[in-house]
């Protein structure tokens, strides 16, 4: 089907059209560009929540409960759930929906699973475009559930307004919590499985880590939850809303979105430049021969770089 027709149908709430558009932006870069140009005017309305944390922390279960709470208040919620792609086969098992079974039939919910397909920041390369489609389709909250993260997969900051960092008891001592990276990006900390031994200690450690940061306009709250039993979810959802309010009142909402747009445009420029440079110079496998020159010490890496860049200078 022509993409324009799909966009029309998506805009009036057709889930299948929405799904087909996501498939297109995930797989066909040229079509993706056309689609994003077409829907741009309809985007920018959704509040984007990032759910991140280590594997097995309960991100999917928590997402399920947050979606239910938001939908019960009359919201339309889109979910993009990301799981890792095998670096060997290129295949993946996308299993986040197992925790969200009841939501499949909800007319106000749309869930899409994505594989990372080699992208390392905790998202997939096309998450951002999929997000724009759900945004245009009228989902006023969109939850992005990242892959299970380790210490430095922080790309979610480039697209989310509010980041919920999901922690669980028993993953290490307080040194872990003062390291740089993933612990710095949480707007809200959810200590899940807090019926388990050690949950209080984990909460204390996160709080102590937060106390060490001096230049904070807003101290991220730490909320204890048991997602599987639906405990603490109301408080968590409330904190998410408080964060939205804070962003809007402080002007940070616009600031964050502006920064993210800047990053997005820079990324697109880099990608296009790479294509231009390679297409102009690599026609006769120049890169391969230049690499041998470098290996043989006839040239260095910077000389070769400059030669490649001649086409745009």
């Amino acid at each position: 089907m022509e993409y324009k027709q799909l966009v029309e149908k998506m805009l009036i709430g057709d889930k299948r059209a929405c799904a087909k558009l996501i498939t297109a932006v995930e797989n066909e870069p040229e079509k993706a560009e056309k689609i994003i140009r077409e829907i741009h005017q309809y985007t920018g309305n959704a509040h984007i929540i990032g759910i991140t944390g280590p594997p097995g922390a309960g991100k999917s279960t928590l997402t399920d409960k947050i979606v239910k709470a938001l939908v019960s208040e009359g919201n339309k919620v889109g979910v993009i759930a990301i799981d890792p792609t095998s670096p060997y086969s290129g295949g993946s098992i996308l299993g986040d929906r197992i925790r969200m079974q009841d939501l499949a039939l909800n007319p106000d919910v749309f869930i899409r699973s994505m594989g990372t397909r080699g992208y390392l920041g905790g998202l997939s390369k096309y998450t951002k475009n999929a997000l724009k489609i759900l945004d245009a389709a009228g989902y006023n909250y969109i939850i992005i559930e990242t892959v299970g993260v380790g210490q430095s997969e922080v790309d979610i900051v480039k697209i989310a307004d509010t980041i919920v960092m999901v922690m669980v008891p028993g993953l290490g001592d307080d040194i872990q919590s003062i390291k740089a990276g993933i612990m710095e990006i949480g707007d809200i900390f959810a200590i899940n499985k807090s019926d388990l031994f050690g949950a209080d200690r984990t909460a204390v450690e996160v709080n102590m880590m937060l106390d060490l940061t001096m230049d904070m306009d807003r101290r991220p709250p730490v909320v204890k939850v048991v997602a599987a039993n639906n405990e603490g979810i109301d408080e968590l959802v409330n904190e998410i809303k408080e964060h939205i309010k804070y962003l809007k009142e402080s002007g940070k909402f616009e600031e964050r979105r502006k920064n993210n747009l800047k990053l997005e445009v820079v990324e697109l420029i880099e990608e296009e430049l790479r294509k231009i440079v390679i297409s102009h110079t690599d026609s006769e496998n120049k890169l391969d021969s230049e690499v041998i020159e470098i290996l043989n010490k006839n040239k260095n890496v910077y000389e070769v770089r400059d030669e490649f860049l001649k086409v745009i200078k």
Partner: protein, 132 residues
């Protein structure tokens, strides 16, 4: 096709055994496919809603309870109702030979019974996916 084949592996009905479904999911993953697994005890309606949202190329159902003659055709019917005509529907599990013809007539393109080599199923999917 220069994208991964997307497959929904679903367990319709009330049987609680998904070892087989997991073995299949894993084999398809290793064959480079994106496998969406949704867990146990799905209704046909849930399976179809998931297939639509995930925009899959293949719906593969596994059943061990004996309710295949009811549940498999129901999924095929609902997909048709939603206008989804480009998805390859396959099934597997403990299914008597006598039932296979009827299921095929109901729109289940192929049935894989116990003992089928996963490589055969992978080949079948690769050769029979309808979408580009």
């Amino acid at each position: 096709m220069n994208r991964p084949i997307r497959v929904l592996i679903a367990k319709p009905g009330l049987d609680g055994h998904d070892r087989g479904a997991k073995v299949i999911a894993r084999a398809l993953r290793d064959a480079g496919m994106e496998v969406i697994y949704t867990g146990l005890r799905q209704t046909p309606e849930q399976i179809v809603a998931t297939a639509v949202q995930e925009d899959v190329d293949v719906v593969g159902m596994s059943i061990l309870s004996g309710a295949h003659n009811h549940l498999f055709p129901r999924v095929a019917e609902l997909l048709k109702e939603q206008g989804v005509d480009d998805v390859l529907i396959i099934g597997g599990g403990v299914i008597p030979d006598d039932d296979i013809q009827g299921l095929k007539e109901a729109g289940i393109k192929e049935i894989f019974t116990p003992g089928t080599e996963t490589s055969k199923m992978i080949e079948y999917i690769k050769n029979n996916v309808q979408r580009q």
